[in-house]
C-alpha cells in the first residue's frame, strides 16, 4: 500500500519533470509567439513586460501585406518542392538500383554517397557557384534547386537505400517467378511498400531545402528571387530600427510549414530518424 503511494507519487513527479523540461525547451518559441502578438511599443519597454497590454495581429498583417514576405515564402516553397521532386525521382531509382542490383561499383557508389552526405557545403560553395554560372543559371531558382541537389541527393539516396534494404526481398523474388518484369515489379510492388520511407525522405528533404541558408545567400542576388531564410533578414533589418515584434512574427510564420509537417507526419519523421540517420 505504502509503496504503491510512493510509486505513484514518484511517477507523478517524473511526469511533472517531463513537462517542466518540455516547457523550458519550448520557452524560446513561446516567447517568440508572445512577442509577435505585441504592439511595437510593448517590445521596447523597460523593464521588460512579459505579458502584453493588448494582443494584436498588427505585426502579421504588416509582414503579409506591406513586405515581400509572401513572395519570399513562395520562392522558398518553389525551391523546396522542386528540390524534393527532383531528388526523389532520381534518388528513388538510384537507391533501388544500388540496393537490388549487383554491378561493379555499387559498393563504392554507396560509400561515395555517404561521404558526400557528410560533405560540408562550405567546401563546394565556391566551385558550385562557378558551375551554376557556366550553366547560365546564376541568380535563378533553377540554379538554386540544382545546387541543393549537392546535399539533398546524397541524403535522399542514403536514406532511401536504407529503407529499401529493410524491405523483404522474397516478395520481389516471388513476383519475378510469376513473370513480372523488373521495372513493372518496381512500380507495382516495391514502390507501394517503400512509400513510408519515401514520404519520410521527402519530408526531410523538403525541410532541409526550405531551411537552407548558405547557397541561397551566395547564389541569389535579386531581391525578388530570394528565399525566406536569406530574404527575411533583409525584410526585417533594412529599416532604421529592428522591430522585434515583426521579426518574431516572421519567425513564427516561417516555421509554420515545418510545424505542420511535425504535427501531421510525426510518425514518418520518427521513422526517418531511426532508419536514415544511424540505423542504431
Amino acid at each position: 500500500m505504502m509503496s504503491m503511494v510512493v510509486r505513484q507519487s514518484a511517477r507523478a513527479f517524473r511526469v511533472g519533470l517531463v513537462w517542466l523540461g518540455i516547457f523550458l525547451i519550448a520557452m524560446p518559441m513561446l516567447w517568440a509567439l508572445l512577442t509577435s502578438l505585441k504592439p511595437k511599443g510593448d517590445t521596447l519597454t523597460f523593464p521588460v513586460a512579459i505579458w502584453p497590454e493588448s494582443f494584436t495581429f498588427e505585426s502579421y498583417s504588416t509582414l503579409l501585406f506591406d513586405t515581400m514576405f509572401v513572395q519570399l515564402f513562395l520562392n522558398s516553397v518553389v525551391v523546396a518542392v522542386g528540390t524534393t521532386l527532383l531528388v526523389l525521382i532520381v534518388g528513388t531509382l538510384g537507391a533501388y538500383g544500388l540496393t537490388r542490383f549487383k554491378f561493379r561499383g555499387a559498393e563504392l557508389g554507396a560509400a561515395t554517397i555517404l561521404f558526400t552526405y557528410f560533405l560540408p557545403s562550405t567546401i563546394i560553395v565556391v566551385p558550385i557557384y562557378l558551375t551554376i554560372n557556366q550553366l547560365g543559371l546564376s541568380d535563378t531558382l533553377t540554379g538554386l534547386v540544382l545546387s541543393y541537389t549537392t546535399f539533398a541527393l546524397p541524403f535522399a539516396l542514403w536514406m532511401l537505400r536504407l529503407f529499401f534494404q529493410t524491405l523483404p526481398v522474397e516478395i520481389e523474388q516471388a513476383a519475378r517467378v510469376d513473370g513480372a518484369s523488373r521495372l513493372g515489379l518496381f512500380f507495382e510492388i516495391v514502390l507501394p511498400q517503400a512509400l513510408p520511407g519515401i514520404i519520410a525522405t521527402s519530408l526531410f528533404t523538403f525541410i532541409i531545402a526550405y531551411n537552407e541558408y548558405l547557397f541561397s545567400f551566395i547564389f541569389i542576388n535579386s531581391d525578388a528571387k530570394k528565399t525566406l531564410p536569406v530574404g527575411i533578414n533583409f525584410i526585417v533589418k533594412t529599416s532604421y530600427e529592428i522591430e522585434w515584434n515583426i521579426v518574431m512574427a516572421a519567425s513564427v510564420l516561417m516555421t509554420l510549414p515545418v510545424l505542420i509537417v511535425i504535427v501531421s507526419c510525426q510518425r514518418y519523421l520518427l521513422s526517418g530518424f531511426g532508419v536514415g540517420n544511424t540505423k542504431g
Partner: protein, 455 residues
C-alpha cells in the same frame, strides 16, 4: 581596368558578399554575353542610376519626389535610386564598374572614398557644376578638402555637410536627477556617465562596431586627445601617447555603455538614445525628428552639446569629424551632360531644401544661401529646437576630414583605404575584447596602418 578595380576592392576587408557576387555574376554574364548586354542597356537606355547612402523613409520619399519632377522636366528619362550603406559603397561600385554599369550620379560618398577614386582617375571634374551653383556659395572648408591640386579640378563637391560624431545628445532629466551638469571635458563626461548608469540605463553609448561610425568616432577621440593618425608629411603617428590616452578614455566609456556597443553602428546608436536607454549618445541632428515622432514623451527632456574633449590643460582640443557628404560623377558615366543635369537638379533650391527637410537637422546645408534662407529655417522642428540646431551648425563648422587631419597636413588619398580596413576601430576591439594594453594596441595599429600606406 579590371586590375585596378580588384586591387581597390582588396583593400576592403569587409566587402559585402552580395555586391561582390553580383559583381561575379555580372562578370560571368559579361563573359558569356558580351554582344547581348549593350543592346539590353540601350533598349532601356534612359534609365539613370542614382546612388546614395541616405535611406531613411522620409528621405527616400523626398528623393522619389525630386526625381519624379526631374523625369517630368526631362521626358524619356527615368531615375532609379539605389540606397546603400557607407560600408557597401566601394565594393558595390567596384562590382558595377566591372560590369560596365556605373551609376550616373552618386551622392553622400564619403570624401575619403571620393579622393581615393580620383587618385585612380575614376571621377570626372565637377567644376562646371561648381561654377553654375556659384563657388562663393559653398562653405570654404569643403572646397579646400576636395580640390585635386595636381590635376587642377574638383573631382567631388560636398553637397551637404554635417557631423555624426560631433554632437553629444544628453538627457536633461537624468543629468539633473543624478545631480551632474553637462560635461565639457572627458573627466566630466566619465563622471556624468558613471552617475547616470543605474537601473538598466547606461550613462553613455560609445559605439565601436566595425563600421564607419566606429571608425569616425574613434578618429575624433584621437583628435580630441590632441593626437593624429598621421604626421603632416603622412608618416604614421598612431603609436603616440595621445592615441594611448584616447584608448584609455574609450576603455572607461565602454564600461558604462550597453554590452552590444561592440557591434553598434549608426542605427543602434540613435535608437538606444531615442528609446531612452542611455543618458548620452553621439549622433547627428536626426535625433530631433526621431525623438518627436518615436518617443514624444522625452521631447522636452533632451538637448545637445559638442562632444567633450580631453581638457585643454592636458593637451586636448576641440575638433570634430565632419561627414562632407560628396557628390561625384564617375569618369565612366555614360552621358556626362545628363549626369551634370542631375547634379544641378539636386542643387536647385526647392529640391535642396526638400531633401534637408526630410530629416531636419540631420544633414546641414553646405550652401550659405540656403543656410541663411527663410525657407530653410521655416521648418517647425528646426524652430522648436533652435538652440540645438545652432549647436549642430557650430560643431559642423569646426569639423575636419581624415583626408586632411589638420590644415598643415598633406592630402591623404589613402584615408579611404584606412577607413575601409577598419584598422582604427579594430584597435578598440584589441583593447576591449582582446585584452591587449592600449600601448600595445596602438603599436600594433601603427604597424597595420603603415603597411596599408605602403601597399
Amino acid at each position: 581596368m579590371k586590375e585596378r578595380d580588384s586591387s581597390l576592392n582588396l583593400q576592403s576587408a569587409r566587402t559585402t558578399r552580395r555586391s561582390l557576387l553580383k559583381g561575379m555574376g555580372l562578370l560571368a554574364a559579361a563573359g558569356t554575353g558580351v554582344l547581348a548586354a549593350p543592346h539590353v542597356v540601350r533598349a532601356q537606355g534612359k534609365t539613370l542610376a542614382f546612388w546614395t547612402t541616405q535611406r531613411g523613409p522620409t528621405q527616400m520619399k523626398a528623393y522619389e519626389e525630386i526625381w519624379k519632377a526631374f523625369e517630368a522636366a526631362n521626358p524619356g528619362f527615368t531615375v532609379a535610386p539605389q540606397y546603400l550603406t557607407e560600408e557597401e559603397y566601394l565594393p558595390k561600385l567596384t562590382a558595377a564598374m566591372a560590369a560596365n554599369q556605373v551609376p550616373d550620379l552618386m551622392s553622400h560618398m564619403p570624401p575619403e572614398f571620393a579622393m581615393a577614386l580620383n587618385d585612380r582617375d575614376l571621377l570626372s571634374p565637377m567644376d562646371e557644376i561648381l561654377k553654375e551653383v556659384g563657388a562663393d556659395d559653398f562653405f570654404e572648408n569643403s572646397l579646400e578638402l576636395l580640390k585635386d591640386e595636381k590635376k587642377g579640378f574638383y573631382p567631388a563637391l560636398a553637397i551637404v555637410n554635417s557631423t555624426t560624431t560631433g554632437p553629444l545628445w544628453y538627457r536633461k532629466d537624468l543629468l539633473e536627477k543624478a545631480g551632474v551638469t553637462v560635461p565639457t571635458n572627458w573627466a566630466e563626461y566619465l563622471a556624468v556617465a558613471k552617475a547616470t548608469t543605474k537601473g538598466g540605463i547606461f550613462g553613455n553609448v560609445y559605439p565601436f562596431g566595425k563600421t564607419s561610425m566606429g571608425d569616425k568616432l574613434f578618429l575624433q577621440t584621437i583628435w580630441q586627445a590632441g593626437g593624429t593618425v598621421f604626421n603632416p608629411d603622412l608618416s604614421v603617428a598612431f603609436n603616440s601617447p595621445q592615441v594611448v590616452r584616447a584608448l584609455e578614455f574609450v576603455q572607461a566609456a565602454v564600461k558604462l555603455s550597453p554590452p552590444s556597443a561592440a557591434t553598434y553602428a549608426y542605427a543602434e546608436t540613435i535608437n538606444v538614445f531615442v528609446q531612452g536607454r542611455v543618458a548620452m549618445a553621439p549622433y547627428s541632428g536626426r535625433v530631433l525628428g526621431n525623438m518627436v515622432s518615436n518617443n514624444a514623451k522625452l521631447e522636452n527632456d533632451f538637448s545637445v552639446t559638442p562632444f567633450p574633449h580631453l581638457a585643454e590643460g592636458e593637451g586636448g582640443r576641440k575638433v570634430f569629424v565632419g561627414d562632407f557628404q560628396s557628390l561625384v560623377i564617375p569618369a565612366a558615366a555614360k552621358d556626362k551632360e545628363v549626369s551634370k543635369a542631375m547634379a544641378l537638379w539636386l542643387f536647385r533650391k526647392e529640391n535642396y531644401i526638400k531633401y534637408l527637410h526630410a530629416v531636419p537637422g540631420h544633414n546641414l546645408p553646405n550652401l550659405k544661401s540656403i543656410a541663411n534662407s527663410e525657407e530653410y529655417k521655416a521648418d517647425p522642428l528646426l524652430q522648436k529646437y533652435a538652440q540645438e540646431s545652432q549647436t549642430l551648425i557650430d560643431a559642423t563648422s569646426m569639423s575636419r576630414s581624415f583626408l586632411k587631419e589638420t590644415p598643415e597636413h598633406q592630402l591623404n588619398v589613402r584615408a579611404g583605404s584606412i577607413f575601409n580596413s577598419r584598422v582604427l576601430v579594430e584597435t578598440i576591439h584589441d583593447v576591449i575584447i582582446g585584452g591587449v594594453s592600449p600601448a600595445d594596441a596602438a603599436a600594433k595599429g601603427a604597424d597595420k596602418i603603415a603597411s596599408i600606406m605602403k601597399a
